[in-house]
Amino acid sequence: MLTKLLSGDQPRSRALTAILLLILICLAGAPFLFDGVRPLDTAARICIFIVLVASYDLLLGYAGIVSFAHTMFFGLGAYGVALASTHMGRGFDALIVGSVAGALAAVVLALMIGLFSLRVRAIFFAMITLAVASAVAVLVSQFSGLTGGEDGLTYKIPRVLTSANRMGEFLGTRISGKILNYYLIFFASLALFLLLLRIVNSPFGRVLQAIRENDFRAEAIGYRVVWYRTAATCLSAATAALAGSLFAIWLRYVGPDTTLSFEIMLDILLMVVIGGMGTMYGAVIGATLFIMAQTYLQNLMGVASEATHNLPLLPHLLEPDRWLMWLGILFILSVYFFPTGIVGRLRERGKA
C-alpha cells in the first residue's frame, strides 16, 4: 500500500526516511505541535513550496531543462484565484474557477513557449523563459487596473476558511477556519506531491530521464524528444500554477513581489539544488531547510551584523538584506561540490 502510494520510489536511505517522516509529522500536526501564528504560516509555506519546487524538479532534475519562468506559472495560478475571488465574490466556486483557469493559462503559455524554443535547442528555452517571465512581470505591474499593479490584490476567501470561523477546541488548541485552511493546503500539497511522484516514476518519467542523459540517443530509439520535453514543461507549469493557487488561498493577497519576482525564482533554484536534483524527495528537504533558514536565519544575521558593527566591511556583508549574496555563494558551491544535493549524499552514505 505504502509502496504503491509512493509509486515504488522509496527513500532508499534510513536517515533520509527518518528526516522525511519527521517533516511529514511536523507538517501534519503543525497546528497542534507549535503555538502561534508564525509557525503555522511557515508550515503552510513549506507545504506550498514543496509542491512548487517538486514541479520545478520535474523540469530541471528529470528532464534536464532550465526554465526561468517557473514563478510566472506560480503567479498565474495565484492571480487566477485572486481575480476570480475579486470578481465573483467570496466563495469556493471562485477558488475552483480561479485555480482551474490559472492552471489552464499556465499550460497554454508553457505549450507556446515550449513549441517555440524546445524545437530548436534546449538552451534557447532558458533564455526565452527569462525574457517572457520578465515581460509578464512588467505587464502585471503595468496593467494596474486589472492586477492592482505593484500593490497587488487583497480579496476575501470563504468565511469557513478564515480565523473568524470558530469551531471549538481540540487537544487544547482552538480550532478555527485558519486551521481548516491549513489542512486544505496540506492535503492538496500532499496529493500534488504524490501525483508528481507518480509521474516521474511512470514510463513517461523514465523517458524524460533518458532524454536528460542523452537526447540524441532517446530520439534514435524512437521517442519524440520535443513532444516529451514540451509535455514535461506543461505538466510542471500546471502544477506550479496550482501551487500558486494554494499560496493565494493561504495569503489572501497576491502581489508581484510575493509571486512573480526573480528572487523567488532564485529561491526555487536553490531549493532544488540544495535538496538534490532528480529526486522528488530533494524538493521536500530543500524547501523545508530553505524556508526554515529564511524565516529564522535572517534574524541571526541581524544579530551577527550588530555584533560586528565596529569592524570594517563585515557588518555590511552580514546585514540581513545581503542574505541573497550568501545564498548565491552557497548556490555556486553546492553546484560544484554537491551536485546530487543532500538527498544524493544521504543515499550514497546509505549504500556505503
Binding site: 534536464g64 530548436v120 538552451i123 533564455m127 527569462l130 515581460a135 539544488v273 555590511h316 556583508l317 555556486i332
Partner: protein, 343 residues
Amino acid sequence: MTVAPDHKPTFAKMSLGEQLDKAMPVLLIPILVVLGFFAIGAPSSWLTLTVSGLAMGMMIFIMASGLTLVFGLMDVINFGHGAFVSVGAFVGVSVLIALGGWTGTPSLLLNIAAVLLAVVAAMAVTGVMGWGFERVIVKPVYGAHLKQILVTVGGLIVVEQLIHVVWGPDEIFINRPETLKGAITFAGAAMEKYRLLAVAIGLVLFIAMRMVLRRTKVGLIVRAGVENGPMVEALGYRLRMVFVGVFIAGSALAGLGGVMWGLYQEVITAGMGERMMVLVFIVAIIGGLGSVEGAFIGALLVGLTQNYVAFLEPKLALVSNIALMTAILMWRPQGMLPVVKAK
C-alpha cells in the same frame, strides 16, 4: 570499362528569390525603418525615434557581442554577463562623479577626457573581473550547459549583491557632461546629442570588430574556432587562450555598454544588468547564437521596434520585443544568421 563522366561543376546564378532570402536579414532594417515612417506619419518624430532606436540598438549590440561570441567559441552560455554591465556602469559613473569638475564645465575637451577616463576605468575593471569570472565560475563547468546556467546565475547574484555592499543599496543619479546635454535640431526633428554619439560609437565598434574578425590572424582563429574548434586545436592553436581573451574582451565591452547605458538613462541600479540581460538574450537569439553580425542586426531591430511601438502604442512596447522574437523564430528557428557548425 567505361570512362568516368567528366566532372564539370557549374555554378548556377542564384535566382532572385534565393538572393533575396540570403540578404533578407540585412534588408529587414531598412524595411522596418520605412514601415515605421508610414506608421508614424510625421517625418520629424519619425527621425527622432529612428535615431533613438538606433542608439538603443547600438548599446544593446555592444553588450550582446561578447555574449554571443563566447557562446559561439566555447559553447558557454554566460547568464552572468549582466553583472559586467552593472559593474561597468557603477565604476564608470563613480569616475564621472569624482571628476565632477571636468564634466560640469562646458568644455568639450575636458568632458570627453572625463568620459574616456570613465570608460577606460570601467572596461579595465570589468575586463579583469571577466578574467576572474572565467577562472572561478565558468572554467570548472565546461561542456555542461545545465551547470553553466546555474553557476553563472549564482555569479550574477553574488556580484549584484557585492555592488550593494560597495555602493550602497540606492540607485545613483548622474548628469551627462555639459556638452553632451541638449539636442540638435535637424529638419525639424530634435535629436539628442548623446544618442548621436552612441550611434557613432556603436558603428565604429561594429566596424572595428568586423575588421578584427575578418582581417587579422586572431580574428581568423576566432572565426575558425567558432566553426570547428577541435580542428583549430589540432592545427596547434591554443584555443583556450583565445577563448579567455574573447571572454575578457566581451566582459570589457559589456562594461562599456553599462557606462553608455547608465549615461543614457541618467540613473543606475545594481539590477540594471539583470534587466538588460533580457534584451541581450533576445538579440543574441534572433541574431543566431554565435554570430556577431546577427547580433548587430538583431540589436538594431530590437531598438527600432521598441521605440516605434512605444510611440504608437505605449502599452505594447514591453511585449513588442517578445513578439519580434517570436516572429523571427517562426521564420528562422536558428536565428537570422545562424552559425554553421562543423560537426
